[in-house]
């Protein structure tokens, strides 16, 4: 446990000094996606539910925050809160419907519901369609701190990420989290022990979607833009890739996965290989699934266990 604490301390120190070395907006993007992947991992890694439409919560959070910041002059923390609640609410509705089914049918139901929302956002006048919501003001945090400064914004995003990360850990390590893991391992057994499995899944779904909404809301503030990309099913696929690549069901897996995926995209987007981004990502995904199924962090943990455990 002490070792874990030291690791956390080390990571926080790195996170605090990072923006003076690396471009802060890139770091903020990374943190937003890491939070999104953590939220997704809560479902896939700890309950065993593959939601194939998780981008809809990312995008919904973003649109709500963007719209409110643009048209009502809300302060950023309230805007983000509204986006998070909105995504959580949508998650409650979608989750209620989706948890009635299992396995591939669960994935298909979430995908279908997400596509429904995608076409709604495409046509609804308040989202700006293909243009998205542009020029969303970052505003002043608590009416005091001007977030247009990239460093101020970065530490705000970092605080949000740490909160989200902590919440996921808290959930996983609580008695509630134990039951989720029991459901993942053996659902009929959890039922036989008297747990109302669907309700547990539903609550986990709501937490996960609200956190995804939190990530989307924050992302909208960082880039001052909410667009269709965030609700598109490509984005849902990307978060699956991040989680699997990093290590499904591990604590740091989503963080590492998001870091790898975002960095690769960032490196390739400017260069000659820009056109091949999707092919390269696809190959990485195939290699990951074939060669190291438990992801980067998962394999690393296995290695440590084998040699030092």
């Amino acid at each position: 446990m002490i070792k874990m604490n030291k690791l956390y301390l080390f990571l926080i120190v790195i996170a605090l000094v990072a923006p003076s070395i690396v471009y802060p907006v890139f770091l903020m993007k990374l943190l937003c996606f890491a939070l999104f992947a953590c939220a997704f991992n809560l479902l896939l890694g700890f309950v065993g539910l593959l939601s194939f439409g998780h981008a809809v919560f990312l995008g919904t959070g973003g649109y709500i925050t963007g719209y409110l910041m643009l048209h009502t002059g809300l302060t950023p923390e309230l805007g983000i809160l509204a986006g998070t609640l909105g995504a959580g609410l949508l998650g409650a509705v979608y989750g209620k419907l989706a948890v009635k089914r299992e396995g591939i049918y669960f994935a298909m139901v979430t995908l279908a519901l997400a596509q429904l929302a995608f076409f709604f956002y495409l046509q609804a006048p308040f989202t700006g369609g293909e243009d998205g919501l542009q020029g969303v003001p970052r505003g002043e945090l608590f009416g005091l701190i001007d977030l247009n400064d990239n460093f101020a914004m970065y530490y705000f995003v970092l605080a949000i990420f740490i909160f989200g990360f902590w919440l996921v850990q808290r959930t996983v390590h609580s008695p509630f989290g134990q039951i989720l893991k029991a459901i993942r391992e053996n659902e009929p057994r959890a039922v036989s022990l008297g747990y109302n499995v669907n309700d547990y899944k539903w609550v986990a779904f709501i937490i996960s979607s609200a956190l995804a909404g939190l990530a989307g809301s924050t992302k909208t503030l960082v880039f001052q833009l909410a667009s269709l990309t965030d609700v598109h099913w490509h984005m849902s696929g990307e978060v699956v890739l991040m989680t699997l690549l990093g290590g499904m069901g591990t604590i740091f897996g989503p963080l590492v996965g998001a870091g790898v995926v975002i960095s690769i995209q960032n490196m390739l987007s400017g260069g000659e290989l820009g056109n091949y981004i999707h092919i390269i990502m696809g190959i990485i995904f195939i290699v990951c699934v074939l060669a190291f199924r438990s992801g980067i962090v998962g394999e690393f943990q296995k290695l440590v266990k084998k040699n030092f455990g």
Partner: protein
């Protein structure tokens, strides 16, 4: 303690003085031009890598340096996504000291990018976008919209057709910002010229099967079916219209036709179709000379955004030279004060709202028999003076 305060003050003052001096010359000792375009998607042919080539040519023709400082070019793919484009441009400005951004294709991306640029007080040189929003409802003192816009297309292609008696119009429109803008402004032009719009149907971007839309157009009884779309959408909808015999019974008007698309069409279908363009390679010796050089490097004849990208980069660099600085306000002032004049910009000037007004061309697509080469695709029917083609300036966009 007091001594330290004094030193600090001295340092602060010298830093302030240094930055003050910098504002006069070239920031960071380099003029960096960012080219943002769709490099691999539906609009890659009309700007894409070709725009990078055109900007490179402009920098080389200018001499490679300005005021003794080097000129650098960076480029990126925006994938036609506003978030990708605006994130890239933000990084260019904040992390890589880019001074000006050019290219700029899909109107949705340009809208997001120009907001970032205006916030940072950097100039946007818009070549390939069609929407007129950048000089109207989203106008900014840092926008320069070069090649064409939807108003010029509507005034150039639609107006003469309505005036010649084709009163009833039906639209097949690309279902996003650009298509809506084009349909909207064309509708205004039609109604003010005494025509009427009998119907419109919206097809999603990237539709491959246009048959149901074409059937609706056929049933509408319109004199003209206007295709308010672009790129492969335009090609596919026109092909379908021909297959259903629509082109034989009614006029089909392509509202935005780029040379690569016109080249891709079977002359039997497209011959005689009129289009408005900001540039045609085979207009005179000047355009032919530049286009030959472009073709030698890029492999195909230039489309209008390529020529526009060259012209505006040249004008920008000339303005930097004349102003003695790359500070955006001074450069923009100079760009508006001096008239661009090259193979592309004819009778041209940059209006205070950022609209570059220049002569447009009304062309018609040649039939197979009269084509002398694969690149010989247009007859030039008329020159449309800039002040007729473009929308008048709005008073709130009059940035002096």
């Amino acid at each position: 303690m007091k001594a330290m305060k004094k030193t600090l003050l001295a340092v602060a003052m010298s830093v302030a003085a240094a930055t003050g001096v910098q504002a006069e010359g070239i920031s960071n000792d380099v003029v960096k031009i960012g080219v943002l375009a769709d490099m691999g998607g539906v609009y890659a042919d009309i700007c894409g890598q070709g725009c990078v080539t055109a900007v490179e040519m402009a920098v080389e023709d200018f001499g490679g340096t300005v005021l003794g400082k080097p000129i650098e070019i960076v480029s990126a793919d925006d994938q036609n996504k506003p978030d990708v484009g605006s994130a890239k441009v933000r990084q260019w400005i904040e992390d890589e000291n880019v001074d000006v951004v050019t290219g700029l294709v899909a109107s949705s991306v340009t809208g997001a990018v120009t907001k970032v640029l205006t916030d940072a007080k950097k100039i946007a040189l818009i070549s390939a976008s069609a929407s007129n929003a950048f000089t109207t409802k989203a106008c900014s003192p840092y926008n320069a919209h070069w090649t064409y816009n939807v108003a010029a297309l509507a005034n150039g292609t639609v107006k003469p057709m309505v005036e010649s008696g084709k009163k009833k119009w039906f639209f097949i429109t690309a279902d996003y910002a650009f298509g809506h803008a084009l349909e909207g402004i064309a509708t205004k032009v039609i109604e003010s010229s005494g025509g009427e719009v009998v119907g419109a149907v919206r097809a999603p971007l990237g539709t491959t099967d246009f048959s149901s839309y074409v059937l609706q157009a056929q049933a509408s009884g319109a004199d003209v079916v206007g295709l308010a779309n672009a790129g492969t959408d335009f090609v596919n909808s026109l092909k379908t219209a021909a297959e259903f015999g629509l082109t034989e019974t009614t006029d089909v008007a392509g509202l935005l036709v780029f040379t690569p698309n016109a080249q891709a069409l079977d002359p039997a279908i497209a011959a005689g179709m009129k289009a408005t363009t900001g540039f045609y390679w085979d207009m005179d010796d000047q355009t032919r000379e530049w286009s030959a050089r472009f073709k030698a490097r890029h492999g195909s004849i230039p489309a209008m955004p390529h020529a526009g990208a060259y012209s505006m980069t040249m004008h920008y660099l000339n303005a930097v030279k004349a102003a003695g600085t790359d500070e955006s306000d001074a450069v923009m002032k100079q760009m508006k004060a001096s008239k661009p004049d090259d193979f592309f910009a004819r009778n041209a000037y940059l209006r205070n709202d950022g609209r570059m007004v220049h002569d447009m061309l009304l062309v018609s697509i040649k039939d197979a028999a009269s084509r002398q080469s694969a690149d010989d695709i247009y007859n030039i029917e008329a020159t449309i003076p800039g002040d007729v083609a473009f929308n008048p300036m709005l008073p709130e966009c009059d940035f002096k």
